[in-house]
């Protein structure tokens, strides 16, 4: 054995998420929770609507987390959090950070109305969407976060998802909330920093975390982090922040944008795509990337 030195830990060692949880092997959503809790610390209350995490946490009378959770109705994550925050303040707790923790279905689809209401009022909560790009908990059905071209059990190969992923950041930016950030579990330090930053801001903060799902994407469990990095490096899911709906900051600058083909090829959900389809998807990614760059550069 080599000479002993300090192990290099880029994140705090304390864990608020325990082993024994019910996530699939290589689950990205689980890592998202682990990192966000490391950043927020123990003084947190979570509102979790129907999503993978309502299973991952474990059944009654157990929980995998050392922070309190309100398992709330599917479409209510955001406003449940507003309610908890208001209630806590009225009973004298002004410190606890209240977090809505929802999947993409609970955010992009069924929960968007309540989320829009919360954001419009600028209620003092952090909203985290961990995005695995379909209804995974119910068995891989398409959501409006499912990307163009993807197979799901409701978008079979013969009629794959033929509409682009909803631009949630643009919708949230239109609400002029103080803070919006995209993050990926492939970049934990970036996610950690953004969560810390969000914690210090008052008002509605929206974190959109890219969280691969090996079960639903038909990818290898060990590729979860690789996918979460590739998606950033090929600009399919760029990492950026938006302040007050106006100030765009790009966090991971790309010297050389990687092609999306390599990323698509290691996921079974894209296996059916032809070269031509991939080429047109590449064009879309390029266009979106240019749009983002112009927003970043317009000061």
């Amino acid at each position: 054995m080599k000479k002993e030195k300090k192990m290099k830990l880029s994140l705090p060692e304390e864990e608020l998420m325990n082993s024994g949880h019910l996530a699939c092997q290589g689950c990205g959503a689980t890592l998202a929770m682990r990192y966000v809790l490391k950043a927020l610390g123990q003084k947190v209350a979570l509102c979790i609507p129907a999503c993978c995490w309502s299973v991952i946490d474990g059944p009654f009378p157990y929980s995998s987390l050392d922070v309190p959770i309100f398992h709330c109705a599917f479409e209510t994550a955001a406003v449940s959090a507003s309610g908890v925050k208001a209630g806590l303040e009225m009973v004298g707790d002004t410190e606890t950070t209240v977090v809505a923790w929802a999947g993409d279905g609970g955010t992009f689809d069924i929960g968007i109305q309540a989320l829009s209401g919360v954001a419009e009022r600028n209620d003092d909560i952090i909203y985290v969407c961990y995005d695995n790009e379909a209804y995974m908990n119910t068995g891989i059905q398409r959501s409006s976060a499912t990307p163009y071209g993807a197979w799901t059990t409701t978008t079979p190969v013969k009629h794959f998802k033929d509409r682009p992923k909803k631009d949630m950041e643009a919708i949230m930016a239109a609400h002029r909330i103080p803070y919006i950030a995209t993050a990926s579990i492939g970049y934990p330090e970036d996610l950690f920093r953004k969560t810390k930053k969000a914690k210090e801001i008052k008002g509605t903060r929206f974190l959109h975390i890219y969280a691969p799902c090996p079960t639903g994407w038909k990818s290898r469990p060990e590729d979860t982090i690789k996918l979460a990095r590739m998606v950033v490096q090929n600009a399919t899911f760029p990492l950026y922040e938006i302040e007050w709906g106006e100030k765009y900051t790009l966090n991971i600058k790309l010297k050389e944008k990687k092609p999306i083909a390599d990323y698509l090829k290691i996921q079974g959900r894209f296996r059916h795509l032809t070269e031509k389809e991939i080429a047109s998807m590449q064009e879309e990614v390029d266009k979106k990337w240019q749009r983002l760059l112009s927003l970043v550069n317009s000061k």
């Binding site: 309190p68 208001a86 806590l88």
Partner: protein, 384 residues
């Protein structure tokens, strides 16, 4: 202090005197004045509460649930379409044992759009595990909100205080608004033993297997069964302090009545006028107004109707393919106890059609003419 206020404001005053801490609501006719007055009370600090002005009734209830779980006293008010939009979360409130108190203005369900009174909105929430009170005056509305907080918080079961559209919600009556100190003495602050807090982290409402779900529902029912006694007890306590008894039912001339008209809500006062007039005509009529629909006061109803010869239940609601909903309950209360007592089930006043003293006279005459009901449902006032 006596004030002339509308029924909707009686709800607001009830919430204010009950010191609701978090209010969340969405406007709907005929509920709007409830939340308008509460908004003003919160704005001018007459009431120290947070008012979350949400984008739907569904979110209103969701916010109340979150706030209640955090240990705050919560209040909301709605009506009709709004109440039914909340339906999913009504189950959440009772199953989560969150003692939210809600005012509901009875308004008929669309289509067609109706803003007028009937009870199908609240009665179709029958099985959601909420205590339901049907009120007959603005005074009763105000008093019941305060009592409801007390009952709900003791049992950890939510309560709905129900009043009719317009005939109560928009009608001005003299109401004795009790003093805050006296209400404080009656209703202590809400201090739940278990709540959402990082100091003692629990996960609430997680996945529950068949191994445990059954017991949770058993316990909810067992606590619901404690409600009738608790409503009577807190009602008597209220009477001691404020001079007004708040019970499960309200009876009028039932002791010697040959026929008892069973009603709920505002039409109770109409039934009394009719009963009075009938008595002048030599017909001994009485009125039993059922206030608590859930839990249903089976025993109380049985005892009161014991001596009657006939019962006429008047429902401003219908369970399609079945009966009026109070009629069902009354029949099931009597089953095996008083099977020979004829119970007539009338449907009247749906969608705000007037129910007048002459409606009750028509009902009484019908029931007196027949030995027993020949029809499952007797419709009153349908143009045929």
């Amino acid at each position: 202090m006596k004030k002339v206020i509308m029924g909707n404001h009686a709800l607001s005053y009830g919430a204010m005197l009950g010191r609701a801490q978090v209010i969340s609501a969405y406007p709907i006719t005929p509920q709007t004045q409830v939340v308008e007055l509460l908004s003003e009370m919160c704005a001018d600090k007459t009431l120290d509460a947070k008012f979350i002005k949400v984008e739907s009734e569904h979110s209103a209830m969701a916010a109340c649930l979150g706030a209640s779980l955090a240990g705050a006293r919560t209040f909301t008010a709605t009506s009709s379409q709004g109440l039914t939009l909340m339906h999913e979360l009504l189950h959440w409130a009772s199953g989560g044992r969150l003692p939210v108190v809600m005012g509901n203005i009875n308004r008929a369900m669309a289509p067609g759009w109706s803003i007028w009174s009937d009870q199908n909105d609240s009665l179709s929430q029958r099985d959601t595990g909420w205590i339901q009170f049907y009120c007959c005056s603005n005074q009763e509305v105000l008093d019941t909100v305060i009592q409801a907080f007390k009952v709900s918080e003791k049992l950890l079961i939510p309560s709905m205080v129900v009043l009719d559209a317009f005939s109560l919600s928009h009608t001005y009556e003299v109401v004795d608004v009790p003093e805050q100190e006296k209400v404080d003495a009656y209703l202590p602050p809400f201090k739940p033993q278990i709540k959402i807090t990082p100091d003692e982290p629990h996960a609430f409402g997680g996945l529950t297997s068949p191994e445990h779900y059954f017991e949770l529902r058993y316990k909810l029912q067992k606590d619901m069964e404690k409600a009738p006694a608790l409503i009577e007890e807190t009602g008597k306590e209220y009477e001691k302090m404020f001079g007004r008894y708040l019970g499960l039912v309200d009876e009028y001339c039932c002791d010697d009545a040959d026929i008892i008209l069973i009603t709920s809500g505002t039409v109770g006062s109409t039934a009394r006028v009719a009963a009075e007039e009938l008595r002048q005509e030599g017909i001994r009529a009485g009125n039993l107004r059922i206030k608590a629909f859930r839990p249903f006061p089976f025993e109380t109803v049985r005892n009161i109707v014991k001596g009657a010869e006939k019962i006429a239940v008047v429902d401003r609601n219908i369970s399609y393919g079945h009966h009026g909903m109070f009629y069902e309950e009354v029949k099931s209360a009597l089953y095996g106890h008083n099977d020979s007592l004829p119970v007539f089930g009338f449907i009247a006043g749906l969608g705000g059609r007037d129910i007048t003293p002459s409606t009750f006279k028509e009902i009484t005459n019908y029931a007196l003419k027949k030995k027993k009901p020949e029809e499952e449902i007797i419709w009153i006032g349908v143009k045929r």
